[in-house]
């Protein structure tokens, strides 16, 4: 996403058309003027329609489509599964199907009618999308509406995030200081459901990452779950089902979303994000079955990191404490746990390549194709070193980083272990 704040540029763009530019490849550059900022979104050419826009998840999709087609939609769904596998995307698609004016066979929304478009844009009056919000200064959770006390800056951040979610349902809404789904948001939902629907027909409430409801909010929501209103569907999505109240779990029909296969992710990356095949394969291996994590990785400095990892391994195997320390310092400079984990995942992938090559001898099984030579020379030099033990030691380091261990220490321990495994 590009962000532009210069008014001058905005007015120049306005001369071009109606808030959007059609690109040569069929993509769309959309810009929206908000109170404080101007946003630009690039929408890849839309070749993914309706349910096809959800990657994989054949089982869940079939289940939902059958429910729509058979008119057997329950009053509440709970979509569970890891972050970034398409729970929110499926919830939005389901809402579209229920609102669509020209529903195709097997519950396929048309994607063209006003209802479909408004739902997709998260701007439909009968479809409410609820997510965690920050708490404003001096906010009274009992009486104030959830957005009332937030600053203008926070409001435009929220609007921006909603707009991004509308463009890409796999987008993970991230708002600073937003840790909880506020009780006032749940109150607003209750109030909204008590009111007559703005438009006739289905009313859908999507509670994204429902485990972020605080205990108070969750208990307030229970009443809504217990007394379903006709023509109202509640869809809860959660990547941490274990954090939900038992009482909420028991009142929803659960739909499990599986981890995506490497092939599904790689294909999606190539088709949706224009990522070349070899990069897509690498990213899919690192994504742990989550498409949005894979996309997140595309924005990181992955290439550089891959070489840094090899440098770290080299330093460890050189048995030179000084160079180990230099490499460790470089790798842990950011000290952001997420990226440290990622670094270790890359190392893991590298050893996996070494192991695959050793066992199968097939060069095409190697993900780090550009480092094939390095891998081959490692295998010949340390032919007796157990790759399984190496992999286990990296996994332990990942566990340590996740468990909030001192990161430099974790890397140094890892370096020493790798050294002793290779030279044993």
């Amino acid at each position: 996403m590009l962000k532009m704040s210069q008014r001058r540029n905005v007015s120049e763009m306005e001369g071009e058309g109606n808030g959007e530019w059609r690109m040569e490849n069929g993509g769309l550059l959309k810009f929206s003027l908000l109170a404080h900022t101007t946003l630009l979104f690039y929408i890849a050419p839309r070749i993914f329609m309706a349910w096809d826009s959800i990657i994989g998840q054949a089982r869940a999709k079939n289940l939902l489509r059958a429910a729509i087609a058979g008119g057997r939609v329950p009053h509440a769904y709970l979509f569970t599964g890891t972050e970034g596998v398409g729970k929110d995307a499926a919830a939005i698609e389901l809402a579209k199907a229920l609102r669509c004016e020209q529903l195709g066979p097997q519950g396929t929304p048309c994607d063209a009618c006003r209802n479909c478009q408004n739902v997709a844009a998260l701007q439909h009056s009968n479809v409410r999308f609820v997510f965690a919000l920050p708490t404003g200064k001096g906010e009274d959770g009992r009486t104030d509406s959830p957005l009332l006390k937030l600053s203008d800056g926070e409001i435009s951040q929220i609007q921006e995030q909603v707009a991004m979610k509308a463009v890409n349902p796999y987008h993970n809404i991230t708002i600073p200081r937003a840790q909880q789904i506020k009780i006032s948001s749940i109150r607003e939902v209750k109030r909204d459901i008590a009111f007559a629907a703005t438009e006739p027909g289905w009313r859908i409430v999507i509670i994204s990452e429902a485990h972020q409801m605080g205990e108070e909010a969750a208990n307030a929501f229970l009443k809504t779950l217990e007394e379903p209103s006709p023509n109202t569907l509640l869809i809860l999505t959660s990547s941490h089902k274990e954090q939900l109240l038992q009482t909420i779990l028991s009142r929803c029909q659960e739909v499990r979303f599986d981890l995506l296969t490497d092939a599904e992710i790689a294909e999606a990356l190539m088709a949706r994000n224009n990522i070349p095949r070899k990069d897509a394969l690498l990213l899919s291996k690192l994504s742990e079955g989550s498409y949005s994590r894979a996309v997140e990785l595309t924005n990181s400095d992955l290439q550089q990191l891959r070489f840094d990892v090899v440098a770290f391994l080299r330093a460890a195997l050189k048995r030179s404490p000084v160079s180990v320390f230099t490499e460790v310092e470089r790798l842990t400079a950011g000290n952001d746990r997420r990226s440290l984990e990622r670094t270790l995942m890359l190392l893991l992938l590298w050893f996996r390549d070494a192991m695959m090559l050793r066992l199968t001898g097939r060069e095409e099984s190697v993900v780090n194709q550009d480092q094939l030579k390095d891998i081959q020379s490692f295998n010949s030099k340390f032919a007796t070193a157990s790759t399984e033990r190496l992999i286990r030691s990296v996994e332990e380091a990942i566990g340590a980083v996740r468990g909030n261990a001192q990161s430099q220490l974790a890397f140094i321990v890892l370096a020493l272990r790798m050294e002793s495994i290779c030279y044993s």
């Binding site: 409001i155 109030r191 007559a196 703005t198 307030a220």
Partner: protein
Amino acid sequence: MKFTVPVKDLAQALGRISSAIPQRSPMPVLENVLLQLEGSMLSLTATDMDITMTTTLEVRGERNGALLLPARRLVDTVKALEMGEVTLDADLNSKRTLLNTSSGEYRLSGMDAAEFPQLAAFNPTITITLPSAKFGGMVDRTSFACSTDEFRPAMTGVLFQFRPNEIRSVATDGFRLVRVIDHEMQPQVSDNVDVIVPPKALQLVHKAFGAEQMTLEANSTHVRFTDGATTITARLIDETYPNYESVIPQANDKRMVIRRDDILGSVKRVSLYSNSQTRQVRLKLGGNALRIQAEDVDTGGEAFENVPCDYSETEMEIGFNSQFMREALDRIEADEVAFDFSTPLRPSLISPYGKSNGQEVLMLLMPVRLNS
């Protein structure tokens, strides 16, 4: 779209609808005002998805069209403009809009009118014409007693019951209840129609409407109020209202008649010494006298007043939340009020005493339990 209009007219029209513009919304499009020009008629619309307000005004139109303009900026600008005339000239392709006055020029960018939420078609099942002031009085007398508890959504609104020869409005929060029956406004409906209207819509009606007559239209999902140029359309609360008649006691046989100003003044003064949490005041009745007293053990404050009244039943003591008493008494227009008691733990009724102006007002108040 292009038109010219006196600044005063435009400012007034924007002022009328500005209360419907949401202060904070996750939908940026709602932070806009929809301007639609057809001939010499300009209509302005704002909505927060619950309540939609539209007002029209006469302008010197030059070029028809429709456009969304950022509400806050537009309202602030027009409010601050010098008196005189303003010309609004909008290029509907680029959405660039110019406000021209004799001394200056203001540029702002708008959005496509098609992005504004469309209101579903409204087909009223009843249409009633009402005198605004009377209806306003009815609203004022009931809406204060609405509940704010989302767990009982029906009670967060005011119930209006339209009967062939009367209109009733009812509000309750479980601690008090108000029922106003108006026999003069004849809705002339063939069937009984009940609607629960959110108090915010009623407040807007009260604030924005000035004409003598207004129109009320309703169906099962929406209600629309029209006052000449302005319409307010609101979503109804789609719940079943509790059977309020069953809680109104029929056999409260201990009546006290008292001058309204006397008791209201006393309650106001004495309640200053009541506990700030419970706001409890104690009423001691007997021998044509009322003693109102309050004490706050926390601060050691204590106060009482004696008020003459008309009460010849057996002596009794009863406690009330003074704030509820004040709010009820404040809204009774009569020189004298009648209190009808039963026992200290059963609901009491307050009503105006003497001639009524075609409206029958009844306020029910739950007592609070006295400790000694």
